[in-house]
């Protein structure tokens, strides 16, 4: 089946099998490598994409379901080689270590701040409770999100 949707700043249109997940489609057909397969069962958050602005588990969505949707991955954030404010904030506050959970964290930040520009730490924890990280202990991720909120409302 032909699948066609808005992917970051462009349109993607490719053939997909019904039994292909959006995750596999993005990685294998759209060649978007930032979306990761950490568990393939919705339990870790490394496959996070924004689906019409909302964070979802792309490993639990069929590619054919994404038709007509707007999908955002981390590749869609930096514009013309310049980091977005969220990425700058994660850079400044060391919100990453091994980097494997980072694309998911950055996208979740984006969705949160689009909907709530001044989140409290509790709001941040609510938004990120489904994103696992094994390296950072989450502290510097929270600091990065707060910094990103600051930078975006400057």
């Amino acid at each position: 089946m032909l699948v066609r949707f808005k992917l970051n700043d462009g349109i993607i249109a490719e053939e997909a099998n019904p039994n292909e997940t959006l995750l596999d489609f993005l990685r294998n057909r759209a060649k978007v490598g930032s979306v990761k397969k950490g568990c393939d069962e919705g339990a870790c958050g490394t496959c996070t994409v924004l689906f019409n602005g909302k964070p979802v588990r792309s490993c639990l969505i069929l590619a054919v379901q994404a038709s007509e949707a707007e999908i955002t991955t981390v590749e869609g954030l930096a514009k013309r080689g310049e980091l977005s404010e969220i990425q700058e904030a994660f850079l400044e506050k060391y919100g990453f270590q091994c980097g494997f959970c980072t694309p998911g964290m950055i996208l979740t930040t984006r969705a949160l701040l689009d909907q709530n520009p001044h989140p409290t730490i509790e709001d941040i924890k609510d938004a990120f409770e489904g994103n696992l990280c094994r390296c950072t202990g989450y502290e510097q991720i929270i600091e990065s999100v707060l910094r990103a909120a600051e930078m975006r409302t400057r």
């Binding site: 850079l91 060391y94 091994c98 980097g99 924890k125 202990g137 510097q140």
Partner: protein, 778 residues
Amino acid sequence: MHLEYLEEVRKLLHGKSYTVVGRDVRRVDALEKLTGIAKYAADHVIEEALIVKAVRSPHPHAVVKKIDETGALKIPGVVGVITAEDIPGENEIGYLVEDQPLVTEKARYVGDVVALVVAKDEEAAWEGSDELRVEYQKLPAIFDPKDALSNDLKIHDHGNIAGDVKVRKGDVEEAFSRCDVIVERTYKAGSQDHAYLEPEAALAIPLGPGGVTVIGTTQNPFRTRHTVARVLGRQDSEVTIITPYIGGGFGGKDTYGPVISGMAALAAAVLGKPAMMVYSRYESFAYRFKRGPFEIQYKSGATKDGKLRAIQVDYIVDVGGYATWSIGFMKRAAYHATGVYEVANVKVDGVALYTNNLPNSAFNGFGNPQMLFAAESQMDILAEELNMDPIDFRLRNALVPGSRTGTNQLLDHAVGIKELIEKVVEKADWQGKRVKYLDYKTKTKRRGIGVGCSWHGCGTTGFKQDWAGASIIVNPDGSVTYSTGIVEIGQGTITSHAMMVAEVLGIPFEWVRVIGNNTNTMPDSGETHAQRGTIIGGTAAVDAALKLRKRMNKVASEALNCKEEEIALENGEVYNINNASQRMSFKDLVYEMYMGGSPPAEYGFIKARRGYPDPETGQGDPYAAYTFGCTIAEVEVDLETGHVDVLKLYPGVAAGKIIQPAVVRGQIYGCGILGLGYALTERVVRGEGRMLNPSYIDYLIPTIKDKPEMAELVCVEDEYKYSAFGAKGVGEIAFIATPLAIANAVNNALGIRFYEIPLDPEKIFFAVKGESRNGSGS
């Protein structure tokens, strides 16, 4: 580590404060990771790569009688089935003991690989492995290491003991006879899964006749290279290991790097095509080697003046089906068994026993979390019996410069533990909280505060000396190409190396580019584990930089017509410290070197400053230097549910010079949460040798909401003379201290001690209720 690198560098820098070391810079991997272009193993895609799937024994102990490939080969898309007979070289991948085949003919754990199915795509690989018919002759299985001791059933031909370790110092019997207080308990420390977010993966590409390149998840590219070469029957130089970004290691990819790379390489070599193996999360949980459970009998004695006089420890390590790294962590535990204290009389006996459980292996802490859980619990019990505050008792016995360890190693400097404890205690308001929590009693909640002290020798444990190489090339335009064999697993070490090189050469940090990750071009720096990346890996970098710098000083002194010792290099400028008008740019200096035939490159190579403990007495210097940790934990226990809520953690480390403060802060916080997981939420549930919860849904690592309040990190910079900038290692120390502190805090809250970690809410609930279950009592 033959030089006092700390002082040597200081002299070169004319005693000035550092320009980049000790500050926060942009990590060299930051941009790639933040923009999503960083490539991990499974991101390396070759269209025509075949997919490799392992076929595994469902039985914990069985001989493979027959493998019938016909059904599998009929599946469209299946290209081949590989068994032990197809191995071109040696079927041996053992880490410290040569007991481990890559593809086995006798299964020794559930999941032992008996064949590889190779197919054009994932679906075919699955169907092929479904159709492969393997006939087994089942054997009785051993799951409890204590059974292995007295059993006729042999898991390996050489018997059920994989190894043992002894430490003997002084005379414990005599010392115990003089003790006023003796405490003896049995402790159990459980397994733990690394659960890093990136599953294991390897892509192998055949190269010419017999050679292969492997891009795989590994923490030890050179050991991986040698293992692959051995399996393929080739020379090391015919195998190339490329290390991509690694999505978390923690020791798991240290042990497992050669295993998965070996399987992918074997498939590629046998079939002559690129072959990719990517573990599912299930495989990663169910079959990758984990932390080894310990059962420890710990006896300690003290005199009423508060001095710890003797310890006697007997412990058993569950090795699993193959030894892998278990001998190493068994030994490390023995060498650290005293805890951070000076004890004159020490008797430690450890034995590592094979079972038919999943093999156990390297994981952050490497035997220390298990052993120090016992040691630090004992310290609290002793303190109570002596009617002393647990902190005062620890301070009374803590190691100081001039102390000798349990293995009789003299620690003449870089022993910051006492100062560290004092500072963490102050930060946590220990005394105030002890009083406050004594009175804190609601109907359903109790609160407590506890301390855990840790230490961790930096460097590889065991037989092999740990060496490290580093390479610096100064390019004609003044930029620097630096290469190390230390792997970036998230810990930021390679950035530290670049900073240290920039500092010694007196150039802006941005001029140094770190390349590496290819065994053909990078120096062998040993494994990325055991907190050695900076103290040993980084010292090789400084070794190279020093040598190069001395040569640069010579060339510069000739150009500027002054003495070599007068040359200063700073921020890309070269000048005479006694006459600043005599100067040139770094770029011009480099030009002079090229033009004058003075080598603009240097290779550093050092070996760790340590020896080999005597096999009968354990006496010796097993590690170059020790990092110390102290964490205080405040907890609240819900009496009605048995749940433990960690309110706050106060972490502290004495790790020598801190090269990147923000990065170290992140590591320590990460370690705190890892420790909380080991203490409370992470349980490897096993039944008949199988892992029953191989999923993030049922193996629970802490989420962001499980993070307690974290106090600002306390750092004592007890510099080590012989390393780069006086740095020691930080990767494991704060993890180890955390569960010790939490366990002691729970005891403080409840007045009930638990002798097993992870702590189990059910056990806590029933213990509180007054019913007796395993592990309760005080």
